[in-house]
Symmetry: D2
């Protein structure tokens, strides 16, 4: 807008995440008073036909079919990676070396080794960087973070998180290729561990601090599937389900579970934290609410409060409509884009940074390792 500095963005990827990111950059300045005006300068993907249509829909000024060219363009300030996991490391490292700011979809790498190289690249290039763990920007989750940081819960005893889906139960579902790369281990790196548990771990460490050790199990219920690119029936390399026990460094105990075989659940990310004085719960299927129990409430009237986090004094909500009216999933990306731009103008680095994303990858690596060794494993540091 008038008087604001512009920030030229090059987005890689036009899938599900390409859309949420594009929308975030377009919507953020309409609802937040931002120091930078993000400009959708270029989008990059391989299929030039679909690329054109996508660029047209979202108003991109240009399109590229080779990310290397995008990274080299002088008119690009920030590279935003919304392409499959196996492309993250290469693009991010090249972008950092080219002096671009880098935003990257989660998980940061297919494994911690990739994530480490990426983190070192952005840190040695000293460029702004961020991982799109968008659930940190749900207003209800932010409220929960404030409650914890204010000490309302007291000493923490328990944490539990689940991310349950049911979309891969059919044996006829193929793996690999457009829309199904999450089932292809060479592209995704892992199954639900990197896709779903990664979200729950990022939120958990943000809310409850570092994880000390884990004991995990994983399972692949459907052992082979047709591969969409090769046309062959091939072994399935990803984990269909993954669960772990853990201890946090603060002494609290936790259980985590993710699966794509929980019939009836579409995207049931739930979390609960139990403290000495109070407890809280959140559920992605009803994302505007937290359930909060405060033992310091008057005895006979203690109960779980269902707080509809839509008031103007709730996190982010004064930017939107009026109390009682909800926002949706994509708004978490809008919030994240806005926070990134605000931090940038203040010379700060908005979280989660690549280093934060690496911390999560270290835990997911430990989870996968523990499932193999059948031992408790501590995340490397």
């Amino acid at each position: 807008m008038i008087g604001r500095k512009t920030l030229n963005i090059g987005v890689v990827g036009y899938g599900f995440m390409g859309r949420t990111h594009s929308n975030a950059f377009l919507q953020a300045p309409r609802f937040f008073d931002l120091p930078y005006q993000p400009v959708l300068k270029a989008v990059c993907a391989r299929n030039s036909e679909r690329l054109k249509s996508f660029a047209n829909t979202w108003g991109y000024e240009s399109a590229e079919t080779d990310w290397r060219k995008l990274v080299e363009r002088a008119d690009i300030d920030l590279i935003d990676i919304a392409s499959p996991n196996d492309t993250h490391a290469e693009i991010a490292i090249a972008a950092a070396r080219a002096g671009k700011m880098v935003m990257c979809e989660k998980p940061l790498g297919r494994n911690a080794a990739e994530a480490k190289a990426m983190t070192e690249a952005v840190e040695s290039a000293n460029v702004a960087n961020m991982v799109w763990y968008n659930y940190r920007r749900v207003p209800a989750v932010v409220l929960l973070k404030h409650l914890i940081d204010d000490g309302r819960l007291g000493r923490i005893f328990h944490y539990r998180a689940k991310f349950l889906q049911d979309w891969t139960i059919s044996q006829d579902l193929p793996q690999g290729g457009e829309g199904l790369w999450r089932l292809d281990v060479s592209v995704a790196g892992s199954g639900v561990t990197g896709d779903l548990l990664a979200h729950t771990i990022d939120t958990a460490m943000w809310l409850n601090g570092p994880i000390a050790e884990v004991s995990a199990m994983t399972e692949t219920f459907v052992k082979q599937r047709k591969h969409n690119l090769t046309g062959q029936v091939e072994p399935v390399g990803i984990d269909d389900a993954s669960a772990f026990l853990c201890r946090f460094q603060n002494g609290s105990l936790a259980t985590f579970e993710a699966t794509r075989y929980a019939r009836g659940h579409k995207a049931l990310y739930t979390l609960e934290i139990n403290g000495e004085h109070a407890s809280a719960m959140w559920d992605l299927h009803d994302l505007h609410r937290i359930q909060f129990f405060d033992h310091r409430d008057e005895g006979q009237l203690r109960g779980w409060r269902s707080i509809h986090v839509t008031d103007s004094d709730h996190p982010y909500m004064r930017r939107w409509w009026v109390p009682g009216l909800q926002i949706g999933y994509e708004h978490t990306f809008i919030h994240q884009a806005a926070d990134f731009l605000e931090a940038l103008s203040e010379g700060k680095q908005a979280a989660p940074t690549f280093r934060d994303g690496l911390a999560t990858d270290l835990v997911t690596d430990a989870v996968l390792e523990s499932a193999k060794t059948r031992q408790w494993e501590a995340p490397c540091t």
Copy 2:
């Protein structure tokens, strides 16, 4: 038990309510420390075969097939009426005249005229009396009463109650006779107005004071049904559904509704009250909870509290198990029996009395009248 005075009870009726009352008298002394030991002295009903079996199951000392004989027995202290509505007035008045205490199922009469005669009979005989509006004894509802009486809600703006069922939708359901007398207007007096709305009105006036005026509508969706006793298809005289607007004397506005045509609801008695400072809700299908919202809670943390009313400091609950463990429907009758016996030993009259039952019948009469006149009607006083 040892050392307690006994109270000899004669129960009329062995149907649904005959069972809940018998159970109440047997269980009350096991869970409450009562001044009287209720004795199931006699049960009375017409079908002597079933009567014997019922008396045997419940441990009655004797059985009668004529309530007039029961009322005359010198060894009976209290007549408890659990038979269909058309028998209430005659039995209650005879019992009072015979100097017996009288307890009566709700509604008190088939109409206010009957209820008035019954009330005058027990009052002029100066005998203890009570109507079994059992929902006043749900722990959660009692907690709600305490909150209102303590002024926690402040000025009341709104009250709303519903009692929704779905068991008479089929046109093939006959009317009249055993188990189906509630559909026969000559026995029941009215349909859902006397059966279901009466409950909601009793609770409402207990919680929120007298009702000033009502505007009502009723409907009979199925116009004729086979009558089980005559074998003939006959016009249906009862109201299948009944709803009314009302103003309470305290200036609050209310809506009430009852029906047996709300597919999916078995016995959904719900109530909500909105005050200046706080609001509360209750639902019979989850009878141990109240939902409570207190505007004086800290801003960002205001929410509806789901209070599981099972702690030992909640009404009646220290008599039962441990926190979190629930009691059921029949316990409301046990509580009412216990309260009656306790009040008796203190020379007090436990509520709801026949006079309270009359007050409700005056409102249901006004509701039925308003539905006919299509005018606002005030309950007679």
Copy 3:
């Protein structure tokens, strides 16, 4: 976008609704494949300072401070009215006479007389027209509409709707002026009847057909408030609460209630419909779900299904994200804008039209009349 016809839009008003409409026109073509590209040609409001800022934020090409000038501009195809209720009639009629398409915020007029004049104006000018009753575009509500239209519920017995808020309980809240014109009867026309009940009536008649007659009550709990524009304490002319019984033409019975004095509820619009075979419920605070009960389910397994309306085969949802991920309040406006543009290209008129809006105003007039006459009233036709 490339290849699409453009549709030039002039929006009047930059308040809450000015934002939702502007957002709708910008977002619709990104998520729907539309025949027209809406262009934010001009925005109109009186305060030129705020107007500039609003135009800048939303990317309007120009701004006007006099709606008459806007209506006369040759480069405007459609006038969208998002200003307070007292401006609707004059602007809409002028726009229609100038041959513009007209979209108007609800309620259509401050009363049925205004709505009638507006309806006649657009109909005699033969211009496309629509009223922004946005709740018809909630995916869950559309699903419910499909269920009813498919005959899944069978004969309808009951309908009930509530719209409960609590934001005007404080006596210190002033009336009139920016953000508070909804409390000023001369601007708003009525209180909750036109603001909240209008929404519930529009949805109800869409789902369940015309309303035959109503019996209503209204109340103004706070009798006088300071007026923000005059600075004087003045009588309050609006209704704070409004409830009515009604009969639909299809023989079903209903209760409706709206209030701004229901402590604990921010925007609790709930509706329920009970049919012979099935029932359904919806709640704005959890807008993505319907509760659905089907009596034809197997006996022991009958229950209320909580359907999370986020699958790709649910109404509108394939345009958005993936199953389980929700959209928000503003998306209902996006859907409505998209539907309007699609209908336009097919030479059809999308609902609700001004005539539909008039039908609702006839019912709200009957409600207010009944509250005065204390009689049952039928909406004029």
Copy 4:
């Protein structure tokens, strides 16, 4: 009752479980048509004052202060053990040797060794025996069992159970003695593992078959407490929290957790099972409902059904009231007593038998062992 054989019962213990068992034996014949009439012949406990009062309240014919005398009495058919865990083995073995039927509170032993000896005792004496894992008799849980056994869920992928409480968070709570023996490891055997996890394991193996292996962690948050009997501050030997991952023999994966440090939860026993075709959930705080999701429902209308298990065709419910009206916690014991007596008359052994109780103790032993060894452990067989 008349015509029934009597069964003379001697109950050991008059605490929480002494009450639920006494009530079960008294109530069962009133609601079930039983072949045996249970007679409360004798109750046994050490404190003779309280014993007398208890015997009086519950109508016991006699009282004993030494369980050895009780076991030897010729007029006792069945010994029911409702005393603390450290007494179970000795009494049960003596009773079996004396040829009495034996019922025993859960857990069967303080550990599997005790349970094994008890099981061998009743089996070699060939006497009827049962463990009071009462949650198998919740109507909703039984319905769930039927669904699984009917194959409605298909191949099982996941099971998860939690039993969360919050009553021992205070450091000032002493351990040991009346009402607090559950905190004393020498009496209880273990903490939440034997007290709460045992319930979840019994139900789980009943529903989902044997457990193959576990990986567990336990924690004692409060390390020392005053002991009520010694008056000394002593180390706490029990586990305050216990969680485990497991694999069932059928290949499904599970997580289990129990704690007394989950602020806000009183007795939150929840379970969920996910199958290929359908999933189901249950929650003790709302014990009459199951949530059931069937993927074979029509696409757009799939949802979690909230089934209120109170219809007359639901397990046990035709014995109680009418649809919609709930029963409580104690009814699970009544059902278990009734089932025991029915099985007895048919010459069958009602479950869970001592051998079933032993199976659970073998799992809890494995859990405690795994928490120590930090290895996966298989229950001994």
